[in-house]
């Protein structure tokens, strides 16, 4: 469990993170979204005690990060996969990390196995591809078998197999009851992995809700009806207080209404239907609606 309370970070006169209050719960994958510069990485760094908050607190299981005796056994984090000494092998890096946190040396081989890095871990870190570095970074995060894992853009540089692997990994970590907090720009990926979403814009919390709810709430989530009597049905639906739009000769799109109600209204009117289905907004669309104002603001500001 990660608890942020009024967490803020100011750089000069700019608030990178502004009074962020939220809880990231165990047993679920929480996606952390937001445009570039929204403050996602800064938030993660503050959780790990790397950056000092201007105000507020970040607690992990009720205590600040630096109070945890063996932090790697409690929190595993991948911030920047490239942040390794280029001349040190991944294996040596992991051995040193394990040693500093009282983690059995045998764990190193285990996590390298888990992430599928065999001999490559013996190479100098500078000689690894981005995808391999990413796997090494994930191995590092898993080293202490932590209750809480945080990944900043974990699928960056991974091939499709790697992406799928990370997806399954996050899923299984959450299913084991761990807290999984992951930032990403890839909406389609988040839609497949996340249970819960936290969206940041200009350092402020825009949204903190379950993924399903976000999708359902989007104006682009709608009920699509195909009927030879489109005009009649449109009138009936409007009379029933449903927002409806005729999008084709035989097709209507109703928003903000349950599919059952559309079916019932058609039945009451005795109108034949050829198709009745829900069209779900993609996370990408829902996200764009949510952040439109914040991105716009950024663009305007850049234009000045």
């Amino acid at each position: 469990m990660i608890s942020l309370k009024g967490l803020s970070k100011r750089y000069g006169d700019r608030m990178a993170v502004d009074e962020l209050t939220l809880e990231v719960r165990p047993g679920a994958v929480t996606g952390f979204l937001g445009p570039n510069g929204a403050g996602k990485s800064t938030t993660m760094r503050m959780i790990l005690g790397l950056d000092r908050p201007t105000a507020g607190t970040a607690l992990i299981g009720g205590v600040p990060y630096h109070r945890i005796r063996y932090p790697l056994q409690k929190v595993g984090a991948l911030l920047d996969a490239r942040a390794l000494h280029p001349g040190r092998s991944g294996h040596a890096h992991l051995v040193a990390m394990a040693r500093s946190n009282g983690i059995a040396r045998g764990r190193v081989a285990e996590v390298l196995e888990t992430v599928g890095l065999g001999e490559a871990a013996r190479k100098r870190a500078g000689a690894l591809s981005l995808g391999m570095s990413q796997r090494l970074g994930i191995a590092c995060a898993l080293l202490g078998d932590p209750e809480v894992v945080m990944f900043d853009e974990p699928v960056n540089g991974l091939d499709p197999d790697g992406v799928r692997w990370v997806r399954h990994l996050m899923r299984s970590l959450a299913d084991e009851g761990r807290t999984v907090f992951v930032s990403s720009h890839l909406m389609s990926e988040m839609q497949l992995t996340a249970d819960h979403l936290v969206v940041l814009g200009k350092g402020r919390l825009i949204l903190d809700a379950p993924l399903a709810e976000v999708i359902a709430r989007s104006s682009l989530t709608a009920v699509v009806v195909r009927t030879p009597h489109a005009a009649d049905l449109a009138v009936r639906l409007k009379a029933g207080g449903v927002a409806v739009e005729r999008v084709g000769e035989n097709e209507l799109v109703a928003t903000g209404v349950a599919i059952e109600r559309v079916g019932d209204l058609a039945h009451e009117a005795g109108i034949r239907l050829h198709e009745l289905r829900t069209r779900e907004a993609s996370l990408e669309q829902a996200y764009q609606e949510l952040t439109a104002s914040s991105v716009e603001y950024g663009a305007q500001k850049a234009g000045v």
């Binding site: 790990l48 630096h66 932090p71 790697l72 040596a92 890096h93 040193a96 990390m97 500093s100």
Partner: protein, 260 residues
């Protein structure tokens, strides 16, 4: 704390630069000691006092003036390479109490550089004795074991303290270029400038900067001041400790205050 030290120890030996720096240090010690010892021997031959003798560890002590830069490179890389690559974040994730991380690095660098100083000094002494005993050099070289042992131990202490001082500066500066500049100015640039400025106060200050303090501690007779440093060895050690502590304190202040 023992575990953190163990981790820093493992990190130190898992990069090639450590070995290169130690090899460079040894080479510089041997070569400068031979050059300086050769000069001393030739001077004695010219003076023609056949019975004159000098301990072969004397030129080794003077050689530290040049060889110290290899150890500066090693000690600097212990911290600046972490900032250059960003791996310092990884280190601080594992050891979030920053003073503990710095202490662990210091406690690794200190004994390693002490041993490196003693061993490279011993090698330079041995090489000096072999070469300077040749007839060509007039047989002025001597190997008084007690004096040599004391000299070598002091070289070790000097190296260990300069290394920790460098670590402190490196922690404060974070970049290799900045660290090298500051350490070079502290060790060579400023004291030489002050020495050349020539005013009595300037000279007094210069003599208390780390290099000359170290040479005073090692009772060097032959150095850039032209003779022995005019104060006791104990005072030299005290000044050296003051500089080291100040650099560490500066490093800790920055490490504590700044975002990683």
């Amino acid at each position: 704390m023992r575990q953190v030290i163990g981790a820093e120890w493992a990190k130190l030996w898992s990069v090639r630069s450590t070995w290169w720096c130690l090899a460079g240090l040894t080479a510089l010690m041997v070569l400068s000691a031979l050059a300086l010892g050769g000069a001393t021997a030739t001077d004695l031959m010219r003076e023609g006092v056949r019975s004159a003798r000098f301990a072969v560890s004397e030129p080794v002590v003077s050689a530290t003036t040049f060889a110290q830069f290899a150890l500066v490179a090693l000690a600097m890389l212990v911290i600046t390479s972490e900032y250059a690559s960003g791996s310092v974040r990884s280190t601080l994730q594992a050891t979030p109490i920053r003073g503990r991380m710095l202490a662990a690095k210091a406690l690794v660098v200190l004994p390693v550089m002490f041993v490196a100083g003693v061993l490279s000094g011993a090698l330079a002494t041995a090489a000096g004795y072999v070469v300077l005993s040749l007839d060509t050099f007039g047989g002025h070289a001597a190997l008084p074991l007690g004096e040599v042992t004391l000299d070598l131990l002091r070289v070790g202490v000097f190296f260990a303290l300069v290394a920790v001082m460098t670590l402190g500066v490196g922690t404060a500066m974070r970049s290799a270029a900045g660290t090298l500049t500051v350490v070079f100015m502290l060790l060579m640039g400023l004291p030489l400038m002050l020495l050349m400025a020539g005013g009595p106060a300037a000279v007094e200050v210069s003599l208390r900067m780390p290099l000359f303090a170290g040479l005073a501690f090692m009772e060097s007779t032959d150095n850039m001041t032209g003779g022995p440093i005019p104060y006791p060895a104990g005072e030299g050690l005290a000044w050296l400790l003051v500089w080291t502590a100040a650099a560490l304190a500066a490093g800790y202040a920055v490490l504590r205050g700044r975002d990683a």
